[in-house]
Amino acid sequence: MSKTTNSHLERQIAAQRKKKIVVAVQYTLAIIITLIVIFPLYWMISSSVKSQDEILLLKPTLWPHEIHLENYVNVFNRVNFGKYYYNTIVMTAGILSSQIITGVFAAYGFSKGKFKGQNACFIFVLGALMIPLQVTFIPIFIMCANWGLSDTFMGLILPECISPYYIFMLRQTFMAIDDSYIDAAKVDGLGRVGIITKILTPMCKSTLFTTTLVTFTSGWNSYFWPKIIAKNERRRVLTVGLAQLKNTFAGQATMNNHEIMAGAVMAILPVVVMFFVFQKYMLTGYSKAAMK
């Protein structure tokens, strides 16, 4: 009898020890991976405040000897970073507002509206998801150039101002809301705009918010189309400007990496700050898409 209790106890102790080892391994691996993943960001920030001499040392320094914040000012003097910021903000705001307005109305029409050919129209919208800008950019570029939209905000915003993805996500959310709310609102004399702004939008706040965050980041970080339509300095956006920054050093890019890194830090600042503020929503935005 005592023998069996003993072996049982031993087994339990062994199991506990094994569990402890697993936890220790898990912590060690997680910490190592986290350090590796964060390293490029750390390297960007620490290089951005080093002096040129320190950048060129054969033995890289992990921690900067002196802090040189003037790198940030120098970048502003070298290229028109302020202008790039302004262009990016206007472009993102334009894309965001038009996608929200058109998206909300279209989602209403597809979820709560009733008209002939509704399904066919919805398939028309979904089909557009299969045709990326990377395929169609040539005719769109020619069209925009013919309309005189090269190097304008209109040119930057127009091809992105309706997103089938946004419509689809909102429609799925609106579908989940019971029709009785809509009917009650209609009895109270609310029109379509009223139903959308006073009932559907407030009820779907969180999805609206997370989907909008995804749209904001992809707008802010967009590169392909801005590079094609805005070749001039005048309407260049941050992402394109940063990629071209190294060319302004005429082959001396390596020697000026401290300034390039300062530019890189400035370009990501708004989105990274937003990431930490809205961290919780950022993830649900994507995992909701995964459920659908």
Binding site: L41, I55, V125, Q134, L242, K246, A290
Partner: protein, 302 residues
């Protein structure tokens, strides 16, 4: 108001509902469907942006692409794109799953570490790419410095035909792996504890319950990640553009980069259009076949 009375209220309501979706339909017609038709038209011309006029030239561009000097570039782009996609899929799916297992502990310190691993997704590709250019630099980059420290020779990461694509994958993988992890984790949390309790009562080992419970239950998530990552990885452009510009010797010239180069650098709209159409057809085939596979092999819990 007078006019309104001729139309039944129900019809009026349907018209108003239709007006809600009309802007989206018109817009997508102009900026998505019309360009596809236009693309097909351009593919039968000799449209070069440097010339004033263009003419129809029949199948000339198609012959150039499939049975001419363009064929080897097409095959090269196809090879590079497929290799790249395989790489990104492996990193996102396998790496993401592995990370999900490692970072699966639900406490404060792990949630901070998870946030850090997920964050690169939000770092603009441009910023990430210039940092990787600096890290991967042959002479002054820190990666080669570390390799030298452990006695390995320096590698010309971006200039060598064999390592250039790996370098691009390092950059995109760095941004994608945390995303894969988060998607897998949120799915894992959704798996009912009952399954694991039943399994452990039956004496299943951790490995057994992973392969018999976790993995099959994750198959819808895996499918979602597979389809979205596959399609988005085929459209890769920015990382290639900034890191290698398609070089060296076209070793990283993915499909979109080829189209971009013909259109925006050589101004050959005709050639760019045929490559774009070929790319579009490829995308359709990939999408259709992934959905077909999914219908057969995915296990849905219901």
């Amino acid at each position: 108001m007078e006019k309104k009375s001729f139309i039944k209220p129900r019809t009026m309501s349907a018209i108003k509902d239709f007006v809600c979706v009309l802007p989206a339909l018109v817009f997508l017609g102009i900026f998505t469907y019309y360009p596809i038709c236009k693309l097909i038209q351009i593919s039968f011309t000799d449209w070069n942006l440097l010339n004033e006029r263009w003419n129809y030239v029949g199948l000339k561009n198609w012959i150039w692409l499939f049975n001419g000097s363009g064929t080897k570039h097409l095959l090269n782009s196809l090879r590079v794109t497929v290799l790249y996609s395989i790489g990104e899929l492996t990193i996102t799916l396998l790496g993401g799953l592995l990370f999900a297992l490692i970072f699966g502990r639900l406490n404060k310190s792990f949630s901070i570490m998870r946030a850090i691993v997920f964050m690169p997704k939000y770092v603009a590709m441009s910023s990430a790419a210039v940092v990787f250019l600096w890290i991967l630099n042959t002479d002054t980059g820190i990666l080669n410095y570390l390799l030298n420290c452990v006695g390995l020779p320096s590698v010309d990461w971006l200039g060598n035909r064999n390592t250039a694509l790996i370098s691009v994958l390092m950059l995109t993988g760095w941004r994608a792996i945390g995303y894969g992890m988060m998607i897998y984790l949120s799915a894992m949390i959704g798996i009912s504890r009952d399954y694991y309790e039943a399994a452990s009562l039956d004496g299943a080992t951790a490995a057994q319950s992973f392969f018999k419970i976790t993995l099959p239950m994750l198959s819808p998530t895996t499918l979602f990640l597979f389809v979205t990552t596959f399609i988005s990885s085929m459209k890769v452009f920015q990382s290639v553009d900034i890191l290698t510009s398609g070089g060296p010797y076209r070793a990283t010239e993915v499909f979109v980069y080829t189209i971009y180069k013909y259109a925006m650098e050589d101004f050959r709209m005709d050639r760019a259009s045929v490559v774009a159409i070929a790319f579009f057809v490829l995308l359709l085939i990939v999408t259709a076949s992934t959905f077909k596979v999914s219908n057969r092999s995915v296990h849905y819990d219901s």
